[in-house]
């Protein structure tokens, strides 16, 4: 029986406290007036290049501003673009500053959301993988079920926090919640049947309830199986998992449209939801591997052998490639057709986030494929840990790139708030998962495939 050690508990609480302070700092230092925003900008400029031609940096700013507007899809629509452009010049500096102020105020929200969703998506991905294991009647993985169940205990707190963020972020994330903007935007009016606040809230609540219900019943059945005299709870879990997966593929798609795609409400891509799923599942597998390695090292999983690790690592490898496939599919098709409405999404990412955008590709694809190609390497814990660290960092950047360009635009940075948010959710994740792992013995009982799994050698 695993028990969260006092040391780990202490560390995670420290992380949570530091993180909370940092996030609070981020919200407090966000500018509330135009003058403050201007000051911050001025400080940023002098920080960037000193006196190095304030003029040119300003014009770059303005240029960037246009590309942001593109990102929101304004310029895509002919006349409207000209109008926007025109009105910008007319309003001049003030309009520009207002926009900047808005983005600066969004920064702490976005930082919290990126980290919050990153950890939620890990737990959710594990939940989906766990359901797949049941549905596919997998013979090798049952010894890891308790590890997976432990990780999914984060689904409840994680999903509630993320739910609160998306509900309260309002116009910080979702321009379509701004009634003035919608009033003058025909396209957004057309979408208001889907993109309206009450419906958005209802949908979000349904997703979160659905995911948590499955997690609750699956774990309950899995624990009941240990004392059951027949396979009843197992069969129930099989059924629940089938229907959960059905529910999950639909809600995951809609979640991706709601929470991410509607940040740039003019932009759309049909692949988008599956792409986010790929990010989710590969991060989840990585965390399963890392948690298993840590617990095994500490002596809690004597029944897990290197063949099990090998299999998880293979999945990490395979889904890294799968993620890249979807990334490329989406990117290449939009790049190739170069339709103005669509291409704006990548324009801002390539122009303003260049290193991150392509660096992520190296981290998420090139490293895993090189490290995890060799069969022997997949059985060596520290190799898998190294590959896992790359994958997690890479997919954090992936989520960062989903959110930041669409919300804070040019004014992105990786500073106190972003780091604090990661620390906060990391601490929470460690605490919740750690105590979740301690809720039941790490070795399952009575699963019909347990013996296959224990004797598994590849």
């Amino acid at each position: 029986m695993y028990k969260l050690s006092g040391k780990v508990k202490l560390i995670s609480i420290i992380l949570i406290v530091i993180g909370a302070l940092g996030i609070g700092y981020g919200f407090l230092t966000a500018p509330s007036t135009l003058d403050e925003a201007k000051e911050i900008l001025a400080a940023e400029h002098s920080g960037h290049g000193g006196s190095h031609e304030a003029e040119s940096s300003h014009s770059k700013e303005a240029e960037g501003h246009h590309s942001e507007m593109n990102a929101e899809g304004h310029s895509a629509h002919g006349e409207q673009a000209a109008e926007t452009h025109h009105s910008e010049e007319a309003h001049g500096e003030d309009h520009h500053s207002e926009h900047v102020l808005h983005q600066l105020q969004t920064k702490p929200w976005a930082a919290t959301f990126v980290a919050g969703f990153f950890f939620l998506m890990i737990a959710l991905g594990v939940l989906a993988f766990y359901a797949i294991q049941y549905v596919a009647q997998v013979g090798w993985s049952p010894v890891l079920f308790r590890v997976m169940e432990g990780i999914t205990s984060y689904v409840l707190p994680g999903s509630i926090i993320v739910l609160l963020i998306v509900l309260f972020a309002g116009e910080h994330f979702y321009p379509w919640q701004n009634h003035e903007l919608v009033a003058e935007d025909k396209i957004l009016q057309g979408k208001s049947g889907y993109l309206n606040f009450p419906f958005f809230v209802i949908r979000a609540i349904i997703y979160v309830i659905g995911w948590n219900l499955y997690r609750y019943f699956a774990v309950r059945n899995s624990r009941a199986l240990a004392t059951a005299s027949n396979y009843g709870p197992y069969k129930k879990n099989f059924k629940y998992s089938v229907f959960f997966l059905l529910f999950f593929i639909l809600t995951e798609s809609m979640m991706a449209w709601d929470w991410f795609m509607s940040m740039t409400p003019h932009w759309y891509s049909t692949l988008f939801a599956w792409y986010i799923f790929a990010t989710m599942i590969v991060s989840a597998l990585t965390v399963i591997a890392i948690t298993t390695i840590i617990l095994k090292k500490a002596g809690y999983l004597p029944f897990v052998n290197d063949s099990h690790l090998h299999d998880v690592a293979k999945f990490m490898f395979g889904f890294s490639v799968f993620w890249t496939y979807l990334w490329f599919g989406q990117f290449m098709l939009i790049w190739y057709a170069n339709i103005p409405e669509e291409v704006t999404y990548f324009t801002i990412r390539i122009q303003e986030y260049n290193l991150l955008f392509f660096g992520m590709l190296v981290i998420n694809f090139v490293f895993p494929i090189l490290i995890l190609m060799n069969s022997d390497f997949k059985r060596i814990p520290w190799f898998v840990i190294i590959a896992g660290c790359f994958i997690l960092v890479g997919h954090y950047i992936d989520v960062y790139l989903l959110v930041m360009p669409s919300t804070v635009g040019l004014h992105w940075s990786f500073g106190v708030t972003e780091i604090a948010a990661v620390l906060f959710f990391l601490g929470l994740f460690m605490l919740v998962v750690g105590s979740g792992l301690g809720k039941a013995p790490l070795k399952i009982k009575n699963n019909p495939f347990l013996k296959e799994s224990e004797n598994y050698h590849y």
């Binding site: 057309g190 396979y231 988008f272 599919g329 939009i334």
Partner: protein, 465 residues
């Protein structure tokens, strides 16, 4: 994996108390026996269809593409529909042999050989269309980047049609090698049993001197695994590239980023339907019911449910994003309100009925274990997936951005004849295969006999693990 233990909850994959020798006898029976009347009858029908199709192709090439029903608006119709349909069918073979190998699915062993054969014969049919739909097919070799006397005039590597050339040709060659490697031990088995000198000679050549030493087996398994690892991304990329033919364009309804995975899922969906169609007949005709059991059929139905579900989610996504985009042109695409009510409404509803509604019945356990019903559903899916490609291609082209160029398409008998011809050709090849090749990978089935055969499962139950 190597152990003979298997969870008792798993149903046996080989029934009928078979021993190793029984497996051999059952597999070689059609090869060593003589064809009966019904084989000759079906073969003749297929051959006639093939020859008829050949006539249509010759007529097209010598007269011109104008003999087809294409018009200035709809430049692609049955030709590319059939091409994508055949390529899609081919994908199940590689899925069964490669992806299911990676996932260590033991049930694949009874179906992989025929599924791979199906792949190869289907890709051959598919490969005809890119050539015959050309206006000047005799210049087809210009698609290859070969140094030449036109100042070394090269192809443009930006076209997905060129990627198709590489994808299909690579796919065919890798599938062929993968298939043939797996055949070596089985050909060797037939060679060793052959009594007639001619047969002995032929199978000695085909089996490349396979002698089944431990070292050979070890390398054989490694090669299979590497090829499976390569064939898996290949199978995904091939249909992805086929989908790029549409998705890279600017045509509303074609330009959609979900096409790559959606086409792949559709390919597996239709491919498995075709495997079901063929195997349900084959297991009956050559008495393989103990190897291709009802469990195999159920498993394949589950794959159909899964991929059909993925395809359905893609339909919903396409439909939703078409509306969500707020672009008026999207209202005439193959999955839109306009399509559901327009001139091609019958094609739209054929797609929905065949690919979504009818396959839903497989969720019922009784129905997915019902061979007759499975056969019907598989046929319906084959038709539905043909309609999916027809809808994507023709519906989206028929109502483009300029209303003055809106048009309808109706095929000529040459369009139809060519398609029928490819079906005939496919069955000619498949029927010949079924009489001369070991249709079940006996070497592989023997490797699971002791873990998954009903006899051994019973023995384990009686005497403990």
């Amino acid at each position: 994996m190597s152990s003979h233990y298997e969870a008792p909850i798993r149903e046996p994959l080989v029934t009928g108390e078979k021993s190793y020798h029984d497996v051999t006898l059952d597999v070689v029976a059609p090869v060593e026996g003589k064809a009966n009347k019904s084989w000759w009858l079906v073969f003749s029908i297929a051959l006639v269809a093939f020859l008829w199709g050949l006539g249509c192709i010759i007529y097209t090439v010598s007269t011109g593409i104008g003999s087809w029903g294409l018009n200035k608006t709809i430049g692609w119709a049955w030709d590319i529909t059939n091409f994508v349909w055949w390529v899609g069918i081919g994908h199940a073979g590689t899925l069964i042999s490669a992806v299911l190998l990676l996932f260590r699915q033991k049930w694949r062993m009874a179906v992989n050989r025929s599924a791979e054969a199906m792949t190869i014969f289907a890709v051959v049919q598919a490969g005809l269309f890119p050539i015959i739909h050309m206006g000047r097919p005799w210049l087809a070799y210009w698609v290859l980047p070969i140094p030449n006397q036109f100042g070394s005039l090269w192809v443009n590597f930006n076209s997905p049609l060129l990627w198709d050339v590489f994808a299909i040709s690579t796919y065919l060659s890798v599938s062929l090698v993968f298939w043939w490697t797996g055949l070596l031990p089985d050909f060797a088995m037939i060679r060793d049993r052959a009594t007639k000198p001619f047969q002995k000679k032929i199978y000695s050549i085909l089996s490349f001197g396979w002698s089944g030493r431990a070292k050979d087996w070890q390398r054989f398994e490694e090669v299979s695994l590497v090829l499976a690892g390569l064939a898996t991304p290949l199978v995904l990329s091939v249909h992805t590239i086929v989908s790029f033919d549409f998705a890279t364009s600017l045509v509303p309804g074609w330009h959609s980023t979900i096409f790559p995975p959606y086409f792949v899922a559709g390919a597996i969906f239709s491919g498995f339907a075709m495997v079901q169609t063929l195997l349900i007949i084959m297991r009956k005709v050559i008495n393989l019911e103990n190897y291709i059991t009802i469990l195999h059929i159920e498993y394949m139905n589950k794959v159909i449910i899964l991929t059909g579900g993925i395809v359905t989610v893609a339909y919903v996504t396409e439909y939703f994003i078409g509306w969500y985009s707020g672009i008026s042109y999207e209202n005439y695409t193959y999955l839109s309100f306009g399509a559901a009510t327009g001139a091609y409404a019958w094609a739209f509803w054929a797609l929905i009925t065949c690919n979504f509604i009818v396959p839903l019945t497989l969720w019922v356990k009784k129905l997915r274990r019902n061979i007759f019903w499975t056969f019907i559903v598989a046929l319906v899916i084959n038709i539905g997936m043909w309609f999916e490609r027809f809808d994507i291609i023709v519906l989206c082209l028929s109502k483009g951005r300029t209303p003055s160029s809106w048009a309808m398409f109706s095929p000529t008998f040459i369009d139809i004849g060519t398609f029928v011809g490819t079906i005939g050709f496919f069955f000619v090849l498949f029927l010949l295969y079924a009489r001369t090749f070991p249709v079940i990978a006996q070497a592989e089935v023997k490797s699971i006999l002791k873990s998954s055969g009903d006899k051994y499962k019973r023995l384990r139950e009686e005497h403990g693990d």
